[in-house]
């Protein structure tokens, strides 16, 4: 009957059978996933594996925000893009691959840069946000939007041979600004384009982001909130550390916050972080 299967069709039961067999996930976990919507901001090194696994796992509606074009120097780590999409929008390329592995879910293409003028409107269409961007001002903008709209944020970062992962704004936990009220000096904000990154490092962090989003969407397991994973690829060492809780004094999520939707729309993130929201790629000078 439809009831005992939580609305899953025979095709879905076959496709997701390895999930349904899991006692701690099962039909209920899969049904939750199929009803959920997840937005991935950035279809680059972190977004590639996150999108692949979210599409495959059966997230009901999967959104992708990006405004970049696929370039040859992305291909060493952005495994969702194929060579034939070089020169075309990353959103189109990523959406095509997602559809090719799972034609039964909804893929939404947001082919635009994330800005203060469109972020709230885009975010409000999704249950969970994944930060797979590559610069500081975007990370503040994304976190602030998630606080204002009350959305959990799965945040990953990778650079060089290291990666970091945590879940913000989940179940009373801290937001990005609770940890980093003041932006770092721009000289400390290296990007993959400047400093390089071993391609599989964002691969690992992006997969872990997909896992955390799946756990939240399916209501299974303990998300990595109030904890942060620190990954060092060279030495194969991983730490999971306890981080501070929500700060009462936080300018955005604290008790006496005056940060509203209107304020967000007017906030100058580029000036705040002294970095453009969509940085131009640098040239390699070997």
């Amino acid at each position: 009957t439809v009831d005992s299967r939580n609305g899953l069709t025979p095709d879905m039961i076959y496709r997701y059978s390895r999930h349904l067999l899991l006692p701690s996930f099962g039909v209920e976990g899969q049904a939750n996933l199929l009803k959920s919507s997840i937005l991935v901001v950035g279809a680059g090194g972190l977004g590639s594996p996150a999108l692949l696994y979210l599409a495959a796992s059966g997230v009901g509606r999967l959104g992708i925000v990006d405004h970049d074009m696929v370039e040859l120097n992305n291909m060493h780590r952005q495994v969702i893009h194929t060579e034939k999409y070089i020169g075309q929008p990353k959103v189109k390329s990523a959406a095509a691959t997602c559809r090719s592995i799972n034609s039964t879910i909804q893929i939404v293409e947001h082919e635009e840069a994330l800005r203060t003028s469109n972020a709230l409107e885009i975010f409000s269409q999704y249950d969970i946000i994944i930060d797979a961007t590559d610069n500081a001002p975007s990370r503040y903008l994304i976190s602030d939007c998630c606080v204002i709209l009350g959305k959990p944020l799965v945040s990953g970062a990778a650079l060089g041979l290291e990666g970091q992962l945590t879940v913000y704004n989940y179940n009373g936990g801290p937001c990005y600004r609770c940890l980093f009220p003041t932006p770092p000096p721009t000289t400390a904000c290296q990007r993959c384009a400047d400093s390089g990154v071993l391609g599989v490092v964002p691969g690992i962090i992006g997969c872990l982001q997909a896992l955390e989003a799946i756990k939240i969407a399916s209501a299974v397991g303990e998300p990595l909130s109030g904890r942060m994973l620190l990954f060092d690829a060279l030495s194969a060492r991983i730490r999971i550390v306890k981080i501070r809780g929500r700060s009462m004094d936080c300018e955005v999520c604290g008790e006496n916050t005056t940060f509203t939707q209107q304020k967000l729309r007017e906030f100058d993130y580029e000036n705040f972080a002294q970095t453009p929201l969509s940085p131009a790629p640098l040239k390699l000078n070997l």
Binding site: P202, V241, K242, I243
Partner: protein, 118 residues
Amino acid sequence: MARSLQCFQWFWVSGKTLNMQLTLEFGGGLELLCDSKKIHSVNVEPQNGADKLIMKDLLSWVRTNLIKERPEMFMKGDTVRPGVLVLVNDCDWELSGQLNTSLEEKDVVVFISTLHGG
């Protein structure tokens, strides 16, 4: 049933200086400020004749003894610069008193810069 047992043990600790053995780790790019070495096994004395070592003292010790270049990438004023997380035994120093966190023998202190790449 456990055998009835009595243990007597006594310890005598004495010394003119209390040298504390600590493991310091740098990550997220901060290792570049100290010869690209991530893990440092160090011995630090309490500062200014105090009988304990707190994070405030350790920071100035690190700045003097380990940071080889661009100290402004590590510190700002008397604390770490924005964007640096400090972990004492895998726990955010905000939870243990920040600059006033007391250190004990064999503690592991991690300084890590937040990453933005993707």
